[in-house]
């Protein structure tokens, strides 16, 4: 598919207010199943930008922004509102609480991390024995979740019921070229869609889903795609980078993605084999518009596209991610320029979608 660059096209700009929005989104605590805090921010931002919006039974926000004209392609964009975190499982007295992990967190990441618990965001810490008191054998092993407690202090004993959500407490900050915060997976996707709604392409009908429960199995996206029934879909997410140099100087062949190298386009992951027509469209747009991009290394993992593409009679789908280091920990890092290029690549790609984009069979 040949792409002719539209000389009138201008990249949407990321303004300080967009970064401020990402900061607010990153700082909000919205663990899978309890996405209220992010939903509230999203609703306040999009209500004047879209033609209509609704919250569905699972808590997804579904919105539409129509283009100019009739019978335009219906393109779904999805970003998930939820983040990995914790759920209190029992009160052990004196302000100690037992907890379970919600979503995927490596237990080695837990000890010593500050957390916020419940609706009142009570600050606490995941406690572990100080090094002074730990034996040399203990220091070699990771501590299982069963052995860890959230410590809220004696004043908060009996205040939290089991079933209460908790999340990491890290505050967002901008550090040189990078943005650091918790839950950038996938608040950066949420902020990307909002930036796009501020500069919507007029050649398509945009169907937007801010989804719930992605981190526990792409659950919200499944029903969102059923309701929206789009012609095609793009999931916007954040993908882990393992791009650090190797200690022995060998070539790193398992980097997954590299921060600073542009938006990561998916060809295949554990949940989706991206539609080859959409892959070539987005790659060609990147080449013609000279927007840097990278191909995410195929392998495991998944995005909302995993459940969107199987919905109804099949929905051609792809994912684009901002690469990020240390995802699913208390502090992840992305590059601001990768985010800017993601918005540019997405905006330019959407501007080239038409009723011919999926004409012909799925093939390379």
């Amino acid at each position: 598919m040949k792409i002719q660059k539209n000389k009138e096209w201008r990249a949407p700009r990321i303004r300080p207010k967009n970064i401020e929005l990402l900061e607010n989104l990153s700082n909000a605590v919205a663990v899978s199943g309890d996405e209220r805090a992010v939903r509230k921010i999203v609703l306040s931002k999009i209500k004047d930008l879209v033609d209509d919006f609704q919250m569905d039974a699972l808590g997804n926000i579904l919105a539409t922004k129509k283009g100019k004209g009739r019978n335009l392609p219906k393109v779904m964009l999805a970003a998930h509102m939820d983040e990995v975190g914790f759920m209190i499982s029992s009160d052990e007295g004196k302000g100690f609480y037992r907890f379970e992990i919600v979503g995927g967190i490596d237990p080695r990441q837990l000890a010593g991390k500050p957390v916020l618990v419940g609706k009142d965001r009570i600050p606490g810490v995941i406690g572990a024995k100080a090094i002074h008191l730990a034996s040399s054998r203990e220091r070699k092993n990771s501590i299982s979740v069963d052995s860890l407690r959230i410590d809220l202090g004696p004043g908060n004993s009996k205040k939290i019921q089991s079933g209460t959500w908790a999340g990491f407490a890290t505050k967002f900050s901008q550090i040189g070229p990078s943005l650091r915060g918790k839950a950038l997976d996938d608040r950066v996707g949420v902020a990307t869609i909002i930036a796009l709604l501020e500069n919507p392409p007029e050649n398509i009908d945009l169907l937007v889903a801010f989804t719930v429960q992605e981190e526990v199995g792409l659950r919200g996206a499944k029903v969102a795609a059923y309701t929206l029934a789009p012609d095609m879909a793009i999931a916007l997410d954040c993908t882990p980078s393992l791009d650090m140099p190797l200690w022995d100087g060998k070539e790193n062949v398992e980097y997954r993605s590299k921060i600073g190298q542009g938006p990561a386009i998916y060809i295949g992951d554990g949940a989706t084999l991206a539609d080859p027509r959409l892959v070539s469209l987005i790659r060609n747009v990147g080449d013609e518009y000279k927007i840097p991009y990278q191909i995410r290394q195929p392998g495991k993992g998944g995005t909302d596209a995993g459940n969107i593409h199987k919905q109804r009679e099949g929905i051609p789908s792809i994912s684009i991610s901002v690469p990020g280091r240390y995802l699913h920990t208390a502090a992840s890092i992305i590059r601001l320029k990768d985010w800017k290029n993601t918005i540019s690549l997405l905006h330019a790609s959407l501007s080239h979608i038409n009723n011919q984009t999926l004409k012909g069979d799925r093939r390379r």
């Binding site: 392998g299 199987k310 109804r312 009679e313």
Partner: protein
């Protein structure tokens, strides 16, 4: 029949990239059916016959795709790393060759380490194209390949890569060419992405809305030295699936199949598969539910480059399916 199976197994069609095999099938069936279409996920949906008031819409599904690999990185010296598409077992890779969609071939190499008996992870393997630089490497990240292995005719037994599920495809082609449909409509669905999680069948079934769904696929056997206990053997007839780890066949469908085979004196076996599933798993739970079952072709060494079947099981499967779809069905 053997020549059709040979031709089908020689085509490269890993999950998600089934266009070559789909084109081949369209060429085979287009003059024998009422209509065909290709849906959003690449499923080829073929209709034959009209449903009468006492008839059923019967979805017969065989999957186009085979297991394969996808390139993840080409290093400075031109070696290409890969991840897998579907259930590729590391132990089957040693000494193997792979062929890419564009026809390029390479051999599977492995990093040293471990012992002579141990099998490394896929992450320690690479494709060697005989080149020395990244620039000369004929493939790039995202390119896909399948096992390269010739078809071998051993008489009643035939061997090839991708017998799973090209033998099912061959059966469905024969059926669409020759079967009488009676009061029923046959919807032959050549599905995509089965090996990565019955993805094509799920969306196809949503669109087809069948009254009955039947997968045609391979199943493993218990007839080799020290094999796990399993009743199914090569050459003893098609297997009527009762249960696998993804689906419990509708008992009414099983009864219909068993009675039809018994009445027509077609040999058959009863299949209970401990681990594995077919497109029927996805069809069964489509929309408000579909009575589903599966006719399996016994196959040794499934997901290896040399999958073995017995041609008599194929012939009998065609007979059984022809009998099933051509009569009034009361379930």
């Amino acid at each position: 029949m053997k020549s059709l199976i040979k031709a089908l197994t020689e085509i490269t069609g890993p999950s998600g990239y089934e266009e070559k095999i789909r084109d081949f099938i369209i060429d085979q069936i287009k003059d024998h059916v009422d209509n065909f279409e290709v849906d959003a996920l690449g499923n080829l949906i073929v209709r034959k016959g009209n449903k009468a008031s006492n008839g059923k819409v019967i979805m017969l599904a065989a999957h186009l795709d085979e297991i394969g690999i996808m390139i993840t990185h080409v290093d400075a010296n031109g070696f290409a790393r890969f991840s897998t598409l579907g259930g590729v077992y590391p132990r089957n890779m040693a000494g193997g060759r792979v062929r890419f969609l564009n026809g390029d071939s390479g051999i599977i190499g492995m990093e040293p380490g471990g012992t002579i008996k141990s099998v490394p992870d896929i992450a320690k393997m690479y494709v060697d194209f005989g080149v020395t630089t990244k620039k000369d490497c004929p493939v790039n990240i995202g390119d896909v390949a399948c096992f390269e292995r010739t078809f071998t005719d051993l008489g009643d037994r035939i061997v090839a890569k991708a017998m799973d599920d090209r033998v099912g495809i061959a059966i469905l082609i024969e059926l669409l060419k020759n079967a009488k449909t009676g009061p029923n409509q046959i919807v032959g669905v050549f599905t995509t992405q089965e090996e990565v999680g019955t993805r094509g069948a799920a969306s196809a079934a949503f669109g087809v809305m069948p009254d009955i769904g039947i997968a045609i696929d391979v199943t493993i056997t218990g007839d080799t030295p020290n094999a796990n206990l399993m009743e199914v053997a090569l050459g003893k007839g098609p297997a009527i699936k009762i249960k696998d780890s993804g689906m419990i066949s509708d008992p009414k469908v099983v009864k219909w199949m068993v009675e039809t085979a018994t009445h027509a004196k077609i040999p058959f076996q009863r299949e209970i598969l401990a681990a594995g599933w077919t497109d029927a798993k996805a069809i069964q739970v489509s929309r408000d539910g579909v009575p589903a079952g599966c006719i399996s072709i016994p196959c040794r060494y499934v997901h290896s480059p040399s999958e073995m079947i017995d041609i008599n099981d194929v012939t009998n499967a065609i007979k059984l399916l022809s009998n099933l779809v051509s009569k009034t069905i009361s379930i």
